[in-house]
């Protein structure tokens, strides 16, 4: 990196906002997709919109690509550094700027951690509904970039339904103020377009987010099964009966055992083949009637036991088990490949079976934990990244699971994004014309492909536009 540029960047963010030491930069060499790594040239940690814009202007002029980064918990390589690129992290942008309880909205800097927002607003009887399992660490900016989901998004929807506005810094370092929370957008729905754009359109520095009133009544149920198939069937039947719990989650046996052996132990029965974690919220009549209608469905599918959380502490413990599930898998093997496929909700059982077969045929340990109500599955494959041959089998299994979903009307990702992990599969789900339209939109907002270059859209579609994309990190030149 050129000395004079470094000096200019230091002048903007101060000494503490620039990380140059290779050992310190190493902490930024990957996100949750640990299979892919690259050391960034530099890490910048601005404190606000103005510093972000000034840094980005300098980098733009110098022709240096940039990777936005929140907490680095992403699982698709969205925050993996790119060749010759700088990582711009939001870790020092953690201020809650405004809570407006009358309008039920919050304005925050994008580095605020998801769970912190709900903690702060609880006193006003409000919370931020999207609750990714990583919510204790991930940032709201990362959530917006990935359009993250979470167990309660079954009722409340993914992040996109909760973003009222934002301030974005464009690749050129210009400000785009979309923060006015009007009920309908003026002109095009740019906010809607930015959500889920995986850091490829701009860096979100401030967010205006919708807050939801805490429900008057919440009931959490744990239904226990001796068959994963039956457990999946319950979900299909709940959806078919048009019942509306707020969360419907499934954990299979291997997951239960990993959770129970970990610090997240929730009291799930270790001899069960599967558990269904169900939450119902609303007013009293709504909650009791919904549960009354769910119970016969559970019985029909041979639920062997139904437990009801007696108080908030027990509810929190049941959820801690679910939300700590990925972390608990560390007990099975050092590394975890988290697939994130989506299936039509009528085909849940079929996809779970196929995923299990694909993994077991390759001698891999697979555990399933998923947002069943949304048809969003996480078949998790435990492995050891030091074993190259095993890694190859894991990646093959991942691709085959995605392919099976595509063939059954499903999709590649329900919440973790495409990043670099699923990039090549995009060409199987979408036609060249589909991808070319995405590339055109990307070119309109980042013509020089400075932000997260070479990610999400497979290279072929980019070439259609006759641009010269910076190569995506390939397994060969990583690590």
């Amino acid at each position: 990196m050129h000395e004079s540029l470094l000096r200019d960047l230091r002048a903007v963010v101060g000494e503490a906002g620039v990380i140059t030491q290779p050992s310190a930069r190493a902490a930024y060499d990957c996100d949750g997709l640990t299979l892919k790594r690259r050391l960034p040239e530099l890490v910048l940690l601005p404190r606000d919109t103005d510093q972000t814009a000034r840094c980005m202007r300098l980098l733009y002029r110098a022709g240096i690509p940039l990777v936005p980064r929140g907490a680095g918990t992403g699982l698709s390589g969205g925050a993996t550094p790119v060749e010759g690129g700088v990582v711009l992290g939001t870790a020092r942008m953690r201020r809650v700027l405004e809570i407006d309880s009358e309008r039920r909205l919050a304005r925050v800097q994008s580095g605020v951690v998801n769970a912190d927002l709900s903690r702060i607003t609880a006193a006003q009887g409000l919370y931020y509904a999207p609750d990714p399992s990583s919510q204790a660490a991930c940032t709201l900016g990362g959530n917006v970039a990935e359009n993250s989901g979470g167990p309660h998004c079954f009722r409340h929807g993914n992040t996109t339904r909760h973003v009222l506005g934002m301030v974005v810094v464009t690749p050129e370092g210009e400000l785009l103020d979309l923060s006015d929370p009007r009920p309908d957008p003026w002109g095009y729905d740019l906010c809607g377009l930015f959500v889920g754009s995986e850091g490829m359109f701009g860096v979100a520095t401030e967010l205006t987010l919708k807050l939801t009133p805490l429900p008057p009544v919440t009931e959490t149920l744990l239904a226990i099964f001796q068959s994963l198939d039956e457990c999946c069937e319950v979900v299909t039947d709940i959806i078919a009966a048009r019942l509306e719990p707020s969360a419907i989650e499934i954990l299979d046996k291997l997951t239960i055992q990993a959770v129970e052996a970990s610090v997240f132990a929730a009291g799930y029965p270790q001899d069960a083949e599967a558990v269904l974690l169900l939450e119902v919220e609303g007013h009293e009549a709504q909650v009791s009637e919904t549960i009354a209608r769910v119970e016969p469905i559970l019985e029909r599918h041979r639920c062997i036991e139904l437990r009801r959380a007696r108080d908030a502490a027990e509810r929190a413990r049941l959820w801690a088990g679910r939300k700590g599930a990925f972390g608990a898998m560390g007990r099975i093997a050092p590394d975890l490949y988290v697939a994130d496929v989506v299936a039509p909700r009528t085909r849940l059982r079929e996809i779970v079976r196929i995923a299990t077969d694909i993994a077991t045929e390759r001698g891999l340990a697979i555990s399933n934990v998923f947002h069943a109500g949304d048809g969003n599955l996480h078949p998790n494959i435990s492995y050891d990244r030091r074993d190259a041959e095993q890694v190859a089998r894991v990646l093959e299994a991942g691709d085959l699971i995605m392919q099976a979903c595509i063939e059954r009307g499903g999709s590649l990702t329900g919440e973790h994004g495409v990043g670099i992990e699923k990039q090549k599969m995009m060409a199987r789900l979408f036609s060249e014309e589909d991808l070319a339209a995405m590339a055109r939109v990307r070119a309109a907002l980042d013509p020089k492909e400075r932000l997260n270059p070479g990610k999400m859209i497979p290279l072929r579609a980019c070439m259609e536009l006759r641009t010269r994309p910076i190569p995506a990190p390939s397994p060969g030149d990583l690590e």
Binding site: R103, G157, T160, Y188, S197, G282, H283, M426, A437
Partner: protein, 388 residues
């Protein structure tokens, strides 16, 4: 023009309307338009054209392109709660289709028998039921569109949860025919309510009604509709409850406890309320304001000569109807810019407001997007009043 030579039916008029039978026909229309340097405006039921009406009256639109013939339900999956349909389907037909499987559709638009899916999405209009479900754009799961160059592009899918690729369908929703021709869309469905009840409170003053609305908003109620309507000097607060039978009964009692006995109470949905937004004609102005400023904004709209005012307090949305507007926009409306959203405005107002169109926040990226998807400017419809 000879329709046979063109390969698609063309209906005379000013401007003529092309009604292609299928996607191939739509591509032919666009090819023809490119060859002849015509500017095309895609239309659905033609009911939200008010926004691009200036173009039509000035002859800036050479050809209207109707998707009415694309009227097939592609897939309704009751077990998944999703619907995929072609753009020309009427909202009424779609609502009837999904009702058979116990589902409801949002938005509940006025006069759904005349509103097409493509037109509804293109206009980006949400219904009064947004109080419960949120705006339409939150429930569009995916789309297939034809771009100006005739390429068909898909985004999203038919799944209730999916973040694969950019959400271009969010960009197309509300793009008012300026980016593409919407061919097909997938929507998330909701349970058809088992029971419905409609309560109305009437007052001559707005303030007590706003207080009532605030009390209801602070409660556990999850109404489908909550709207304040002023007609002939009376402010009516409408509360539409819908859902499971016991739930509606519970909410009805709670509403009465909080807001007092209603002036009127109906089983089922109100027979006229949902159509109100499209009845009466005249100039329509939309605005938005936080709850604490609704009264002040209402006064501003009153000063413009509003005859009828509709407020959705929870969404912070206001709509005013002016029967006989002044030939030029009054200075207040220029001051309100860009806090108000023009809907059906007289042409002269558009012209007068045109210079201010450049003040639209984030105009530059919007124009870049338009240029990227329609580089030759084939689509004539205008998303902003005036032409920036």
């Amino acid at each position: 023009m000879n329709p046979r030579e063109l390969g698609f039916p063309l209906q005379a008029g000013r401007p003529p309307i092309a009604r292609p039978e299928d996607e191939r026909g739509i591509r032919s229309v666009l090819e023809h338009a490119r060859r002849e340097h015509l500017r095309v405006a895609p239309i659905g039921g033609g009911r939200h054209l008010s926004v691009c009406r200036p173009d039509v009256e000035r002859g800036e639109v050479d050809l209207l392109l109707s998707t009415a013939a694309l009227d097939r339900v592609v897939e309704y999956v009751p077990g998944d709660g999703t619907l995929t349909a072609q753009a020309g389907c009427s909202m009424q037909a779609l609502a009837e289709t999904v009702a058979e499987g116990g589902h409801a559709l949002t938005p509940r638009v006025p006069n759904p028998e005349r509103a097409s899916l493509g037109g509804t999405l293109g206009a980006g209009r949400s219904g009064l039921d947004r109080v419960r479900y949120g705006p339409l754009r939150h429930h569009v799961l995916g789309m297939r569109v034809m771009l100006a160059d005739g390429n068909v592009a898909r985004s999203g899918g038919r799944l209730v949860k999916n973040v694969t690729g950019f959400d271009l369908h969010r960009l197309y929703t509300g793009s008012r025919g300026t980016l593409c021709v919407i061919l097909e869309a997938s929507l998330r469905l909701f349970p058809l309510p088992e029971a419905e009840r409609h309560l109305v409170w009437k007052e001559t003053r707005l303030e007590p009604q706003l207080e009532r609305a605030a009390a209801l908003a602070d409660s556990a109620l999850e109404p489908r509709v909550e709207a304040l309507l002023r007609e002939e000097g009376i402010w009516e607060l409408h509360l539409g409850l819908a859902g499971l039978g016991v739930s509606v009964a519970f909410e009805r009692d709670l509403a009465v406890q909080l807001a007092g006995s209603p002036t009127q109470e109906l089983e089922g949905e109100h027979p006229e309320l949902f159509d109100i937004e499209e009845s009466g004609g005249g100039t329509q102005i939309e605005s938005c304001a936080p709850p604490g400023e609704l009264a002040a904004r209402t006064s501003e709209l009153d000063a413009l000569g509003a005859e009828r005012i509709l407020i959705l307090p929870r969404a912070g949305r206001l709509c005013a109807w002016i029967q006989e507007p002044s030939p030029l926009p009054p200075p207040q409306i220029v001051d309100l810019w860009p806090r108000f959203i023009p809907r059906a405005l007289p042409f002269a107002w558009h012209e007068a407001l045109a210079p201010r169109a450049t003040e639209v926040p984030a105009l530059a990226p919007m124009l870049s997007l338009q240029k990227a998807l329609d580089p030759e400017g084939r689509f004539a419809s205008n998303i902003f009043p005036g032409r920036p």
